[in-house]
C-alpha cells in the first residue's frame, strides 16, 4: 500500500504510523524533515515550498514503488508539505512498514534520498538578506548515486 499527499497542512506522526500498521508488520521506520533555523549560517525567517502538481505525485509514487520492489515493504506513507513554513515546522514525512527492521530502514532512507533528487519540489529561503531559491546540494545527488552504485 502506497499513500502520498502533497499538502500545506501539518501532519501527525502517530496517526500516520497507525495508517501503516497491519498484522504482517513488525517494524516501522520513519523520517521527519524539519525546517532548520540556521542554514549556511544565515538565520532563516521562512521557507516557501512549491511543486509541479501532477508530476510531484507521480515522481513520489515511482520512488515508493522502487523501494517496494527492492525490499519486502508492506506499506509506504509520504507527505510533503508545500507553501510557507517557518523554523521547526515539519516539511516532509516518510514512513515504511515491513516485517523486518532492515527493510524498513533501507526503504525509508532510499525514499528520502531519491525524493531529494527525483521529485519536483523547490524551496525559496527568506532571510534578513531577502528571499532566494535554494541550490541543489551536491551531497544529495551523491546520496542517490550511492544507491545506484550498490553502496548502501
Amino acid at each position: 500500500m502506497i499513500k502520498i499527499n502533497i499538502q500545506p497542512e501539518d501532519f501527525d506522526v502517530t496517526s500516520e504510523i497507525k495508517s501503516l500498521r497491519c498484522r504482517a508488520i513488525g517494524a516501522i521506520a520513519t523520517f521527519s524533515g524539519i525546517v532548520r533555523e540556521n542554514s549556511d549560517s544565515k538565520s532563516l525567517i521562512s521557507l516557501t515550498l512549491e511543486h509541479y502538481p501532477g508530476m510531484s505525485e507521480k515522481a513520489l509514487d515511482k520512488i515508493a514503488r522502487q523501494a517496494m520492489q527492492e525490499w519486502p515493504i508492506e506499506s509506504v506513507r509520504i507527505i510533503h508539505r508545500i507553501g510557507r513554513l517557518t523554523p521547526e515546522d515539519n516539511i516532509v514525512f516518510v514512513g515504511c512498514a515491513s516485517a523486518h527492521r532492515h527493510a524498513a530502514f533501507d526503504g525509508c532512507r532510499f525514499i528520502m534520498d531519491f525524493l531529494k533528487t527525483d521529485a519536483p519540489f523547490w524551496k525559496a529561503e527568506e532571510t534578513k538578506q531577502g528571499t532566494a531559491w535554494v541550490s541543489q546540494r551536491e551531497t544529495d545527488t551523491s546520496a542517490k548515486q550511492g544507491w545506484l552504485s550498490g553502496k548502501k
Binding site: 512549491e50 508530476m55 515522481a59 525524493l115 531529494k116 521529485a119 519536483p120 523547490w122 525559496a124 541543489q136
Partner: protein, 83 residues
Amino acid sequence: MRIYYFAWVRDHIGYSQEDIHCPETVKTISQLAAFLSQQSAGHAKAFDDLNAVRAAINQEFVNSDKSVKDTDEIAFFPPVTGG
C-alpha cells in the same frame, strides 16, 4: 504546446505557463529552450545557463536532446530542492 515554468525559471519569465506554437525546426528540448530564450528579456535570462535548467516532458524528467512534439506538456525548472 503547453509549457510550465517553476521556481526561478518562472520568476525570470514572469508567469508560470504559456501556450507556444513552435517552428518546425524546433525538434528537441534544447532547440525549444533556444527558441524560447528569444521570446523576451525574461526568457533570455531564464535560459541563459542551460546547464542550470532541467526539463520534463509529460511530467517525466528528460535530457535536453529529447524530442518534443506539439501535444506534449513541457516544463522547465531548476534542479529540485525538496525534502
